[in-house]
């Protein structure tokens, strides 16, 4: 392992909670509905993060707790029952309904598991109910997906068929690319989790080889292991290096020779390197500060340093699973400073002191930093854009080079803000 410096910080945070992951999960599984059991704050958070107004009727909503629901839990359960009935009557196309716990529902100890169990009996054969928590007191941003996937595992049937299981939400086009490459490598049985239809869950068992596409799935991985799945240890498929090692790790698990992998992906690599050049020109030697949010920070830092030659000032992450991130951390340059957790004020002090060329941060912080003359890239875009794989390496680099290029065009460092 490289000599990486680990630090922990606590204090006020500026991050999204796990509910935010509904924004991409509902797009991945169009036959599912995500019902948050929470407050007006939860509803407002999701619509603000998602820009919901583009939808006629979104496939997510909030059962907003009111004063009378807080008075007695029995009544709250009954009320939730009523809301679910109304919803299913209105949206008969729903196949899976996720009951999503929130901060207030966790604090009043609303038992969503029992509610889900009861509903499952009533709507047997029509709608399946699962529950998980996306609350801010337990989860940060992408951890919501971890919870949602973990909740689906008990519904997955067992099978000893040998297969490659890609775990973590991917953009559909990226998923198709990956599957094509794996087929070319000679792996024919490939499935994805989450699937594109919530009811088409893959079967799993001791011959299932799990390859993670996202780094934030600690709980899901643990439960997949319990079901006998083999977890392929690899860095994540961001950038050329990460994707190559990721393909190699999968190939090794299927006893496919390295030579074969190189043969298939070499043309892709050459093409990607060419595409990366113009971005590298801009990013090279620039100093980068990553604030914690998506848990993708370590993989992004590795890509931006190793392939785009950026200098790393600090790599923040909301949560660090050293085991899952082992391969990634090994690829980081010596003396990289990883900070787990956040004290947003102290961290911003360090941002200002270190005078970075680019800061990766949440939307609440981006414009204020820009107003101080610091270029930023908002992190939420990483979870909405197709950034995985060799073919997307240049696009990924482009997310970071664009603000810098823009800054060069506009030249003035500080603007009067209103």
């Amino acid at each position: 392992m490289s000599k990486v410096e680990f630090d922990k910080e606590t204090g006020p945070r500026e991050v999204f909670c796990g509910l935010t992951s509904i924004v991409w999960l509902h797009r991945r599984m169009p036959d599912a509905f995500f019902l948050v059991v929470g407050s007006r704050t939860c509803a407002h958070l999701i619509q603000s993060a998602a820009g919901v107004m583009i939808f006629a009727e979104p496939r997510f909503g909030t059962a907003i707790l009111e004063e009378k629901d807080l008075a007695g839990l029995a009544d709250a359960h009954e009320e939730l029952d009523r809301v679910v009935n109304d919803l299913i009557a209105r949206r008969p196309e729903i196949k899976t309904l996720f009951l999503v716990g929130s901060c207030p529902s966790e604090v009043i100890k609303l038992d969503l598991a029992t509610v889900a169990e009861k509903l499952n009996k009533r709507f047997l054969g029509q709608v399946r109910f699962v529950n998980y928590s996306g609350s801010g007191i337990e989860t940060t941003f992408t951890q919501g997906e971890d919870g949602a996937l973990k909740a689906l595992i008990p519904l997955m049937e067992s099978s000893n068929e040998e297969k490659l299981l890609l775990v973590g939400t991917l953009a559909n086009n990226v998923e198709d690319r990956f599957k094509k490459i794996f087929r070319n490598l000679g792996i024919s049985n490939i499935e994805s989790f989450p699937p594109r239809q919530s009811t088409a869950l893959p079967k799993i068992g001791k011959n299932t080889k799990v390859l993670l596409t996202q780094p934030y799935l600690s709980d899901t991985v643990r439960d997949l292991k319990h079901r006998g799945c083999e977890i392929i240890s690899a860095p994540f498929p961001l950038g050329i290096e990460g994707s190559t090692k990721w393909f190699l790790a999968a190939a090794k698990a299927f006893k496919i020779s390295e030579l074969k992998v190189h043969e298939i992906i070499s043309p892709l690599i050459n093409r990607a390197k060419l595409a990366l050049e113009s971005h590298k020109e801009i990013l090279k030697g620039k100093r980068l500060f990553l604030l914690p949010e998506s848990q993708l920070e370590i993989s992004l830092a590795r890509f931006l340093h190793n392939e785009c030659e950026m200098d790393l000032i600090e790599v923040g992450t909301p949560y660090l699973n050293k085991d899952l991130m082992k391969e990634e951390v090994n690829l980081l340059p010596d003396n990289t400073k990883i900070v787990e957790g956040q004290h947003v004020e102290k961290q911003l002090d360090r941002v200002r002191e270190s005078n970075p060329d680019l800061v990766v941060c949440g939307m609440g912080l981006a414009n204020p930093l820009e107003a101080e003359g610091i270029s930023t890239k908002w992190s939420i875009e990483m979870v909405f854009s197709p950034i995985h794989g060799i073919d997307q390496a240049a696009d990924l680099a482009g997310l970071f080079s664009k603000p810098l290029r823009r800054n060069q065009i506009l030249t003035t460092k500080t603007l009067v803000t209103h």
Binding site: E14, R40, S48, A63, I64, D86
Partner: protein, 523 residues
């Protein structure tokens, strides 16, 4: 429990954030879990603010709940005070913290600071954003003016005469994330200053706690947005005898009425009454022959109370539209909206549910929708032109250019913003009429998108006769052909009316003549 897919208003603590972020030298410690910081982006992204909202989130986690969350609150308060050195501290809780009852306000008061501390208790499970903003502003005033209130000062609106200076007023209510507040304030100050009236304080937008303390240097208050400032204006009236204005200066008539009201309250003679009518282009633009086609245009209105009521009045009295629907999501202003609706002979729609608004909109078959960004989307789906008149805010509602809703310039902005989408509607009709001319390229794109003409599929059907409705009425070829000649934005209405007419008369087939019969019948 209420199923909500989308909400017009955020929770009450977001209202408190609007007040805190609008002001200077204030800091808000919010007892809240991680995730609640999403609200920062409303200010930094939608309003494009170059500063973070002055808010510290205590960020408690599940593991803290068993322990001492009160200590966590105190730690955050201490750090925030040391770092930001506010002149006044707001302390409150978001929905989850309300449940664990740490009483952060009381904790803060026990910490020995000498700055004023406002303890905000905003019930998250029964109240919403605008109420939270109003309550925060009111509690802030009460706290900062407490000593002066007890000294029983009574302010006469005529005091300026005794003091031998120009009259002074406060402008209360404008805040961040309020619709065009930034520009309304400039416009109103300009109008007042032309009349020889000085602005003492604008609050909360741009004010500091020191400004709040000198509110009573003014003679009267201008209540610019009732949603935010009425409670405070009422309190200032009760405690200091300060009069406040009720007229919202949106539209020419109400701007003139507003100027009159201010003069009357201050006992200041209004010398340029005639001149006022020529301050805006709206009256002439509306009178010019080009605007003839605006007469009787059916308009559906939905928004916050202040803007919905104002829009209804302008639509009817200043542009000659017919108001076919009026509603609000501001329950606090339901009474006033109902009264306005009654005057207009429509039923007021008071709801939080945007789907209900969409249904009402569809039923009213308007030619123009004046609503929030959500109604803009609903109208787009229905193929109806729309102009946005109210919050909730969208980045488009914070234009770079000067773009008030109030006063003379506001009336100009309103004329353009409401009439241009209609002109595009007219253009749409022309496109429709001339689409068979060879100059028109096939597939000419409508600005309203492809859903613009929802009767299109019906018209395109090849079958000469088709039972299109459950009553079994048949459209003949001539009837169908005549229907295509009707402008697309009323085509749906004409189709329904004609069918209704045919059923009532027992006519089994609709021909071109039936269409004209029905037209005469309904006119």
């Amino acid at each position: 429990m209420e199923l909500t897919l989308w909400t017009y208003e955020g929770p009450p603590h977001v209202g408190a954030m609007r007040i805190a972020s609008s002001m200077k030298d204030i800091h808000y410690v919010l007892h809240a879990p991680q995730g609640d910081t999403y609200a920062d982006l409303l200010f930094t992204m939608i309003e494009r603010r170059g500063q973070r909202p002055p808010v510290t989130y205590t960020t408690f986690q599940a593991r803290d709940l068993g322990g001492d969350t009160a200590e966590l609150v105190k730690k955050n308060i201490k750090e925030a005070v040391e770092r930001f050195k506010p002149k006044t501290l707001l302390v409150g809780e978001s929905c989850t913290a309300e449940l664990i009852q740490d009483q952060p306000g009381a904790l803060a008061k026990g910490m020995g600071f000498d700055m004023p501390i406002v303890n905000l208790e905003l019930p998250a499970y029964s109240k919403k954003e605008n109420w939270g903003a109003s309550e925060t502003f009111y509690q802030l005033l009460r706290t900062l003016l407490k000593d002066k209130a007890s000294s029983s000062i009574k302010i006469s609106p005529l005091r300026w005469k005794e003091l031998g200076r120009r009259p002074k007023v406060n402008i209360l209510g404008p805040s961040l994330l309020g619709f065009r507040c930034r520009d309304d304030v400039i416009e109103i100050q300009r109008i007042l200053s032309e009349q020889g009236i000085d602005t003492n304080v604008v609050a909360p937008l741009g004010a500091s706690p020191d400004d709040i303390e000198r509110l009573i240097d003014a003679e009267i208050n201008i209540c610019l947005y009732q949603e935010i400032a009425e409670t405070s204006c009422e309190w200032l009236k009760r405690n200091f005898g300060m009069e406040y204005t009720n007229t919202i200066p949106i539209g020419i008539k109400n701007t003139i009425k507003f100027v009159n009201e201010v003069h009357k309250k201050l006992d200041l003679p209004l010398t340029n009454k005639k001149e006022l009518e020529n301050k805006s282009k709206l009256p002439w633009y509306s009178k010019s022959v080009d605007s003839n086609y605006l007469t009787g245009k059916r308009v559906f209105i939905f928004g916050d109370g202040t803007h919905a009521i104002a829009a209804a009045k302008i639509a009817k009295e200043e542009l000659g539209f017919e108001v076919v629907g009026l509603g609000t999501y501001s329950r606090e202003m339901a009474r006033q909206v109902r009264a306005t609706a009654k005057e207009l002979n429509v039923e007021a729609l008071i709801t939080n549910n945007y789907l209900e608004v969409e249904v009402a909109m569809k039923k009213a078959s308007p030619e123009l929708v004046l609503g929030t960004q959500m109604e803009r989307h609903s109208a787009k789906r229905l193929g109806i032109p729309c102009s946005v008149i109210s919050t909730p805010m969208h980045v488009q509602d914070v234009p770079a250019r000067y773009s008030p809703q109030m006063g003379w310039e506001g009336a100009n902005v309103i004329f353009d913003d409401w009439v241009h989408p209609l002109m595009m509607g007219l253009e749409e009709h022309l496109i429709d009429m001339f689409k068979h001319d060879f100059e028109f390229v096939d597939g000419h794109q409508s600005h309203l998108g492809h859903t613009a003409t929802n009767t299109e599929d019906f018209l395109k059907t090849d079958e000469k006769k088709e039972k299109n409705n459950k009553e079994g009425i048949i459209w003949t070829e001539s009837g169908r052909a005549e229907l295509t000649k009707v402008p697309f934005f009323v085509r749906g209405k004409v189709k329904t009316n004609t069918e209704k007419y045919a059923i009532s008369k027992g006519i089994p087939e609709i021909s071109d003549e039936t269409l004209y019969d029905a037209k005469a019948y309904f006119s």
